[in-house]
C-alpha cells in the first residue's frame, strides 16, 4: 500500500476545501437553513406533524441527505474532473499507485467533507428544531455509507464527464429530482395511490427512509431493506470504479 500517496491525495483535497470554504461548507449550510425556514416554518405551520413527529424535525434527516448526496457528488466529481480538465491527471496516472489507492484518497476526502457538512447541518438543525436521535450508531453508519457511496458515484461521474455540462448533468437532472421526490419533505405514505408504488423505484427513498428511522424509529420501508439497499449501491459503485480502472475508461488512451 502506497500510504504516502493516499495521504498526499487526501490532504491535497482537504487543502482545496480550506481554500474554498465558502463554497464547500458555508453555502450548503445556508441553503439548508433556507429550507428550514421555507418548509419548516411556512409549510410546518400547516402540516404540524407527521406520524407524531413535528414537521420541522421530520424534514431534518431528508435535508441532511439532500446535502450529503449533492455535496458528495459535487466534491468527488470535481476533484477528479478538474485534473482531467487541466491535464494534471498525467501525474496521478504515472505515479506508482493502484486504483484502490487513488479511490481511497479522492473518495475518502470527498466523503470526509460531506460527512463534516452533514454533521454541521445536523448541529444547525438541532439549534432550530427540537431533535431526537433514537439510534445514533445507525445514524452515523447511514451517514458514512451514504457519503462514501455518493462520493464514489461522483468520482465515476467526474471520470465519465467530458465537459462541465456533463459534470452537472447527473446531479441536476437525476440526483436532485430523485432526492426531492424521495421523501425529503414528506412521508411516502402521504402520496396518493399508484405514486406510492412508483416511489419505491426511487433508490433515494431507501436512503432517506433508513436515515429517518435512525432518528425517529419510523420509516417508509423496513430499515433492514434500507440498509441492504445502501450497501447494494455501495457495491454497485465499487464495481463500476473497478471496471473503470481495469479498462482505463476515459482515463487512458
Amino acid at each position: 500500500m502506497n500510504w504516502h500517496a493516499i495521504r498526499a491525495i487526501y490532504f491535497f483535497e482537504m487543502a482545496r476545501t480550506r481554500r474554498t470554504l465558502l463554497q464547500s461548507i458555508v453555502a450548503p449550510v445556508i441553503s439548508t437553513a433556507l429550507y428550514f425556514v421555507v418548509f419548516g416554518a411556512a409549510i410546518g405551520g400547516r402540516i404540524q406533524e407527521v406520524d407524531g413527529v413535528a414537521y420541522g424535525a421530520f424534514i431534518v434527516p431528508g435535508l441532511i441527505m439532500l446535502s450529503l448526496l449533492t455535496q458528495s457528488i459535487a466534491n468527488a466529481s470535481f476533484a477528479i474532473y478538474f485534473p482531467k480538465f487541466v491535464g494534471t491527471i498525467f501525474e496521478i496516472l504515472s505515479a506508482p499507485i493502484s486504483a484502490a489507492e487513488i479511490v481511497i484518497g479522492y473518495v475518502g476526502a470527498a466523503a470526509t467533507k460531506s460527512l463534516v457538512l452533514g454533521l454541521i447541518i445536523l448541529g444547525t438543525a438541532a439549534l432550530i428544531v427540537p431533535l431526537r436521535i433514537d439510534h445514533p450508531g445507525l445514524m452515523l453508519l447511514f451517514l458514512v455509507l451514504t457519503a462514501v457511496t455518493f462520493s464514489l458515484l461522483g468520482f465515476i461521474i467526474g471520470i465519465w464527464a467530458e465537459g462541465f455540462e456533463q459534470l452537472q448533468l447527473v446531479p441536476l437532472l437525476v440526483v436532485t429530482p430523485l432526492t426531492f421526490l424521495g421523501g425529503s419533505f414528506y412521508s411516502v405514505d402521504m402520496l396518493p395511490g399508484i405514486w406510492k408504488t412508483v416511489a419505491l423505484f426511487n433508490p433515494v427513498v431507501y436512503l432517506i427512509s433508513g436515515f429517518r428511522w435512525s432518528f425517529f424509529s419510523l420509516s417508509d420501508v423496513d430499515v433492514r431493506i434500507s440498509l441492504a439497499a445502501t450497501f447494494g449501491f455501495l457495491f454497485l459503485c465499487l464495481a463500476l470504479v473497478a471496471w473503470i480502472f481495469r479498462t482505463g475508461y476515459r482515463l487512458k488512451k
Binding site: R16, R19, G87, T88, E91, I92, S94, K252, K253
Partner: protein
C-alpha cells in the same frame, strides 16, 4: 549491465485506428542523455507516455531497469520522473505544496531538505509560497521539473523541455540536465529543436511517422551521415580547371572564383593537403579556405524526408580559414 530502458516491439494503435507507433525497439543506457528527435506527430510523446504508464500499449513490452512496466508498474513508475510537454499545473497551489505533493504521490516519505535542494537548484526557492498561477511560463516549466525530481527518480523524461522557452532559460535548462547526468540520472528528452539534441545528447534517435529511423551516438551519426565540403576562394578567377588538378573531384563555381570539393565526413584522410600543394604548383592562388559540415539538421531533414544519403548541399559553416 541492464539498460535503463529496454523497449521491444512496442506498438500503439489508437482507438481511431491511427497507428502512432509501429513496432519500435530501443535501448536507453544507464546514465546517458538520450534525445528523441522528430517532427510533431512522430510518436515521441506516445512512446514516452507508454513508458510512464499514461497510455496503454497495443503490443510489445518495456522494461525499466529490468522491470516490466505493466506487471511491475509500482517499481518502474517510482523510478521515473516525467516533465510533460504542456504546462499542466495546479494553478491555485503554492510551489512548495505542489512539489511536496508529487513526492508523496510517488511513495516517498516527506523530506523537506530534499525539496528545498530541488527548489534552490531550479531557482524556485524564493517563489516557494507563490501560487503557481502567478508564475511566468518559464517558472511553471521549472515547477514541473521540480515536481518530477521531487521523488529522486533514476530516469527523467523531458517532453519538449524547451518548447516556447526563451534563450536564456533554455541554456539554464540544458545546464540542469547536464547536472542531472553528473548525478547519474538517465535523461530521455524529446525535442524538435535539432540544436538541442546536438548540444545535449550522448545518443540520438530519430523518429518519424511512428518509426525509429536511426539510433546512434551523436558523433557517429554526424560522422556517418554527414558530409564535408571544402571551399577554396581563388584570388583570380579561373576560366577552366588546370589539367594538373583533374585527379581531384573539383567543381568550379561562381564564375571561376571558387573551387569546391565534397567528401564524406567519415573519410579518414581527406586530400586537402595534397590538393593545396598541387594548386600552388599549378599557379592557382588561393585567397581563402572554408570547410562546411552538414549539421544534424541536414541529416535529420534527409532522414525524415526519405533520402538515405544526405544531400551534398551542406549549410552550416564549421570553420572559415
Amino acid at each position: 549491465m541492464t539498460d535503463a530502458i529496454a523497449i521491444e516491439r512496442l506498438e500503439k494503435t489508437y482507438a481511431s485506428g491511427f497507428q502512432a507507433l509501429k513496432p519500435v525497439d530501443l535501448a536507453v543506457r544507464r546514465g546517458e542523455i538520450f534525445a528523441l528527435l522528430g517532427p510533431n506527430g512522430a510518436g515521441k510523446t506516445t512512446l514516452i507516455s507508454i513508458v510512464c504508464g499514461i497510455v496503454n500499449p497495443t503490443g510489445g513490452r518495456v522494461l525499466v531497469e529490468g522491470h516490466d512496466i505493466l506487471r511491475q508498474a509500482r517499481v518502474t513508475r517510482a523510478l521515473i520522473g516525467l516533465v510533460p510537454q504542456e504546462l499542466t499545473t495546479d494553478s491555485f497551489e503554492s510551489v512548495i505544496a505542489t512539489v511536496t505533493f508529487s513526492r508523496g504521490l510517488f511513495g516517498k516519505p516527506a523530506d523537506p531538505a530534499h525539496i528545498e535542494r530541488v527548489l534552490r537548484d531550479l531557482s524556485l526557492w524564493d517563489k516557494r509560497d507563490t501560487q503557481i498561477r502567478y508564475l511566468s511560463g518559464g517558472m511553471k516549466r521549472r515547477v514541473l521539473i521540480a515536481k518530477a525530481l521531487s521523488h529522486e527518480p533514476k530516469i527523467l523524461f523531458l517532453d519538449e523541455p524547451t518548447a516556447g522557452v526563451d534563450v536564456e532559460l533554455r541554456r539554464d535548462m540544458w545546464e540542469i540536465v547536464r547536472d542531472l547526468k553528473r548525478k547519474g540520472v538517465t535523461v530521455v528528452l524529446t525535442t524538435h529543436y535539432i540544436q538541442e539534441a546536438e548540444e545535449m545528447a550522448d545518443r540520438i534517435g530519430v523518429m518519424s511517422r511512428g518509426e525509429l529511423l536511426v539510433v546512434d551516438e551523436k558523433a557517429n551519426l554526424m560522422r556517418r551521415l554527414g558530409r564535408k565540403t571544402l571551399i577554396l576562394r581563388l584570388a583570380e578567377p579561373l576560366a577552366a580547371l588546370p589539367p594538373a588538378l583533374s585527379a581531384y573531384d573539383l567543381t568550379l563555381t561562381e564564375e571561376g572564383r571558387t573551387l569546391t570539393h565534397a567528401y564524406a565526413a567519415t573519410e579518414d584522410r581527406p586530400p586537402v593537403g595534397p590538393l593545396l600543394a598541387d594548386l600552388g604548383s599549378a599557379g592557382v592562388v588561393v585567397g581563402d579556405v572554408e570547410t562546411r559540415q552538414s549539421s544534424l539538421e541536414d541529416i535529420f531533414v534527409d532522414l525524415v524526408h526519405g533520402g538515405d544519403a544526405p544531400d551534398s548541399a551542406p549549410t552550416t559553416q564549421e570553420a572559415a580559414a
